[in-house]
Protein backbone atom coordinates (compact mmCIF):
# COMPACT_ATOMS: atom_id res chain seq x y z
CA UNK A 1 0.00 0.00 0.00
CA UNK A 2 1.26 3.46 -0.90
CA UNK A 3 1.69 6.08 1.80
CA UNK A 4 -0.25 8.44 -0.44
CA UNK A 5 -3.32 6.16 -0.29
CA UNK A 6 -3.24 6.28 3.50
CA UNK A 7 -2.76 10.03 3.43
CA UNK A 8 -5.86 10.31 1.22
CA UNK A 9 -7.94 8.23 3.64
CA UNK A 10 -6.83 10.39 6.56
CA UNK A 11 -7.38 13.63 4.65
CA UNK A 12 -10.90 12.44 3.85
CA UNK A 13 -11.61 11.56 7.47
CA UNK A 14 -10.08 14.76 8.85
CA UNK A 15 -10.96 17.46 6.30
CA UNK A 16 -10.01 20.23 8.75
CA UNK A 17 -6.61 18.74 9.57
CA UNK A 18 -3.73 21.18 9.88
CA UNK A 19 -1.30 18.34 9.24
CA UNK A 20 -1.53 14.84 7.77
CA UNK A 21 1.81 13.11 7.47
CA UNK A 22 2.41 9.48 6.52
CA UNK A 23 5.81 7.81 6.56
CA UNK A 24 6.46 4.35 5.17
CA UNK A 25 8.87 3.31 7.91
CA UNK A 26 10.46 0.38 6.14
CA UNK A 27 9.81 1.16 2.50
CA UNK A 28 7.85 -2.08 2.28
CA UNK A 29 4.42 -0.47 2.09
CA UNK A 30 3.02 -1.99 5.28
CA UNK A 31 4.70 -0.31 8.28
CA UNK A 32 3.45 3.24 8.65
CA UNK A 33 3.88 6.16 10.99
CA UNK A 34 0.98 8.60 10.70
CA UNK A 35 0.80 12.05 12.26
CA UNK A 36 -2.47 13.97 12.27
CA UNK A 37 -3.10 17.40 13.73
CA UNK A 38 -6.76 18.29 13.69
CA UNK A 39 -9.39 20.24 15.63
CA UNK A 40 -11.35 16.95 15.60
CA UNK A 41 -9.08 15.83 18.46
CA UNK A 42 -9.66 18.85 20.67
CA UNK A 43 -10.97 17.80 24.06
CA UNK A 44 -10.66 14.06 23.35
CA UNK A 45 -8.57 11.61 25.36
CA UNK A 46 -5.60 10.05 23.57
CA UNK A 47 -7.42 6.76 23.21
CA UNK A 48 -10.42 8.41 21.57
CA UNK A 49 -8.09 10.37 19.28
CA UNK A 50 -6.42 7.14 18.20
CA UNK A 51 -9.79 5.44 17.76
CA UNK A 52 -10.70 8.08 15.17
CA UNK A 53 -7.51 7.34 13.25
CA UNK A 54 -8.06 3.58 13.51
CA UNK A 55 -11.62 4.08 12.23
CA UNK A 56 -10.36 6.08 9.25
CA UNK A 57 -7.95 3.25 8.38
CA UNK A 58 -10.30 0.40 9.34
CA UNK A 59 -10.31 -1.21 5.90
CA UNK A 60 -6.53 -1.48 5.31
CA UNK A 61 -6.10 -2.54 8.96
CA UNK A 62 -8.70 -5.28 8.53
CA UNK A 63 -7.41 -6.65 5.26
CA UNK A 64 -3.79 -6.63 6.39
CA UNK A 65 -2.55 -3.94 3.98
CA UNK A 66 -1.26 -2.16 7.08
CA UNK A 67 0.82 -4.58 9.07
CA UNK A 68 2.05 -2.07 11.64
CA UNK A 69 0.69 1.36 12.44
CA UNK A 70 2.20 4.03 14.66
CA UNK A 71 -0.03 6.96 15.46
CA UNK A 72 0.71 10.48 16.67
CA UNK A 73 -2.27 12.77 17.12
CA UNK A 74 -2.46 16.41 18.15
CA UNK A 75 -5.37 18.74 18.68
CA UNK A 76 -5.22 22.34 17.61
CA UNK A 77 -6.70 24.00 20.71
Amino acid sequence: MEAEAIRALLAGAFPDAAEVDVVDRTGGGDHFQVTVTSPAFDGLSLIDQHRLVNDALAEPLRDGSIHELRIKTKGTA
Binding site: L46, I47, N54, L69, R70, I71, K72
Partner: protein, 120 residues
Protein backbone atom coordinates in the same frame (compact mmCIF):
# COMPACT_ATOMS: atom_id res chain seq x y z
CA UNK B 1 -13.21 -25.48 29.48
CA UNK B 2 -13.96 -21.79 29.14
CA UNK B 3 -14.33 -20.35 25.67
CA UNK B 4 -11.60 -18.16 24.24
CA UNK B 5 -13.93 -15.18 24.63
CA UNK B 6 -14.44 -15.95 28.34
CA UNK B 7 -10.74 -16.50 28.94
CA UNK B 8 -9.88 -13.14 27.36
CA UNK B 9 -12.57 -11.22 29.24
CA UNK B 10 -11.42 -12.93 32.47
CA UNK B 11 -7.84 -11.74 31.93
CA UNK B 12 -9.01 -8.20 31.19
CA UNK B 13 -11.30 -8.12 34.22
CA UNK B 14 -9.08 -9.84 36.74
CA UNK B 15 -5.50 -8.82 35.99
CA UNK B 16 -4.38 -5.41 37.31
CA UNK B 17 -2.50 -4.69 34.07
CA UNK B 18 -3.00 -6.91 31.04
CA UNK B 19 -0.76 -6.69 27.97
CA UNK B 20 -1.89 -8.59 24.89
CA UNK B 21 1.24 -8.86 22.77
CA UNK B 22 3.09 -10.77 20.09
CA UNK B 23 5.37 -13.14 21.94
CA UNK B 24 6.31 -13.18 25.61
CA UNK B 25 8.48 -10.90 27.78
CA UNK B 26 11.27 -13.46 27.30
CA UNK B 27 10.82 -13.53 23.53
CA UNK B 28 9.12 -10.45 22.13
CA UNK B 29 8.13 -10.93 18.50
CA UNK B 30 7.22 -7.37 17.53
CA UNK B 31 8.71 -3.91 18.00
CA UNK B 32 5.46 -2.34 19.15
CA UNK B 33 4.87 -5.06 21.73
CA UNK B 34 8.37 -4.37 23.02
CA UNK B 35 7.67 -0.63 23.25
CA UNK B 36 4.52 -1.23 25.29
CA UNK B 37 6.28 -3.73 27.54
CA UNK B 38 9.18 -1.36 28.17
CA UNK B 39 6.88 1.57 28.96
CA UNK B 40 4.89 -0.53 31.44
CA UNK B 41 8.09 -1.86 32.96
CA UNK B 42 9.50 1.66 33.21
CA UNK B 43 6.35 2.81 34.97
CA UNK B 44 6.76 0.02 37.50
CA UNK B 45 3.57 -1.76 36.53
CA UNK B 46 2.68 -5.32 37.41
CA UNK B 47 2.31 -6.90 33.98
CA UNK B 48 0.30 -9.92 32.91
CA UNK B 49 1.04 -10.78 29.29
CA UNK B 50 -0.96 -12.87 26.85
CA UNK B 51 0.67 -13.99 23.61
CA UNK B 52 -1.76 -13.58 20.72
CA UNK B 53 0.38 -15.42 18.17
CA UNK B 54 -0.48 -19.08 18.89
CA UNK B 55 -3.87 -18.78 17.14
CA UNK B 56 -5.40 -16.05 14.94
CA UNK B 57 -8.70 -16.47 16.82
CA UNK B 58 -7.13 -14.85 19.89
CA UNK B 59 -6.58 -11.58 18.07
CA UNK B 60 -10.02 -11.74 16.42
CA UNK B 61 -11.79 -12.27 19.75
CA UNK B 62 -9.70 -9.62 21.49
CA UNK B 63 -10.36 -6.94 18.87
CA UNK B 64 -14.07 -7.81 18.88
CA UNK B 65 -14.13 -7.29 22.65
CA UNK B 66 -12.00 -4.14 22.78
CA UNK B 67 -12.94 -2.46 19.50
CA UNK B 68 -9.21 -1.87 18.99
CA UNK B 69 -7.76 -3.24 15.74
CA UNK B 70 -4.04 -3.51 16.43
CA UNK B 71 -1.63 -5.31 18.76
CA UNK B 72 -0.40 -4.66 21.43
CA UNK B 73 -3.31 -3.71 23.68
CA UNK B 74 -2.90 -2.56 27.28
CA UNK B 75 -5.65 -2.74 29.89
CA UNK B 76 -5.48 -1.31 33.42
CA UNK B 77 -8.17 -2.61 35.78
CA UNK B 78 -10.31 -3.71 32.86
CA UNK B 79 -10.04 -0.42 30.97
CA UNK B 80 -8.36 -0.24 27.56
CA UNK B 81 -5.51 2.26 27.76
CA UNK B 82 -4.42 1.87 24.14
CA UNK B 83 -1.59 0.46 22.09
CA UNK B 84 2.16 1.06 22.11
CA UNK B 85 2.01 4.72 21.09
CA UNK B 86 -0.43 5.77 23.81
CA UNK B 87 1.29 3.68 26.47
CA UNK B 88 4.62 5.31 25.57
CA UNK B 89 3.13 8.79 25.52
CA UNK B 90 1.44 8.32 28.89
CA UNK B 91 4.67 6.94 30.34
CA UNK B 92 6.70 9.86 29.02
CA UNK B 93 4.26 12.39 30.48
CA UNK B 94 4.04 10.63 33.85
CA UNK B 95 0.33 9.98 33.42
CA UNK B 96 0.82 6.22 33.23
CA UNK B 97 2.48 6.10 36.64
CA UNK B 98 -0.29 8.31 38.07
CA UNK B 99 -2.94 6.08 36.54
CA UNK B 100 -1.32 2.96 38.00
CA UNK B 101 -1.06 4.51 41.45
CA UNK B 102 -4.67 5.60 41.27
CA UNK B 103 -5.96 2.26 40.01
CA UNK B 104 -3.74 -0.10 41.99
CA UNK B 105 -2.48 1.92 44.96
CA UNK B 106 1.06 3.23 45.30
CA UNK B 107 2.32 -0.03 46.88
CA UNK B 108 1.32 -2.28 44.00
CA UNK B 109 3.51 -5.21 42.95
CA UNK B 110 5.75 -5.17 39.89
CA UNK B 111 5.39 -8.85 39.18
CA UNK B 112 5.50 -9.95 35.56
CA UNK B 113 3.55 -13.05 34.64
CA UNK B 114 2.45 -14.84 31.50
CA UNK B 115 -1.03 -16.28 30.96
CA UNK B 116 -1.42 -18.95 28.31
CA UNK B 117 -4.88 -19.29 26.82
CA UNK B 118 -6.34 -22.76 26.33
CA UNK B 119 -7.25 -23.33 22.72
CA UNK B 120 -10.11 -25.67 22.03
Amino acid sequence: MKTLHEQITDVIAEEPVALFMKGTPQMVMCGNSLRALQALHGAGAPITTVDILPDPRIRQELSAISGWPTIPQVFVKGELIGGADITEELYASGELQAKLDEALGSEHSQEVKVVTLELG
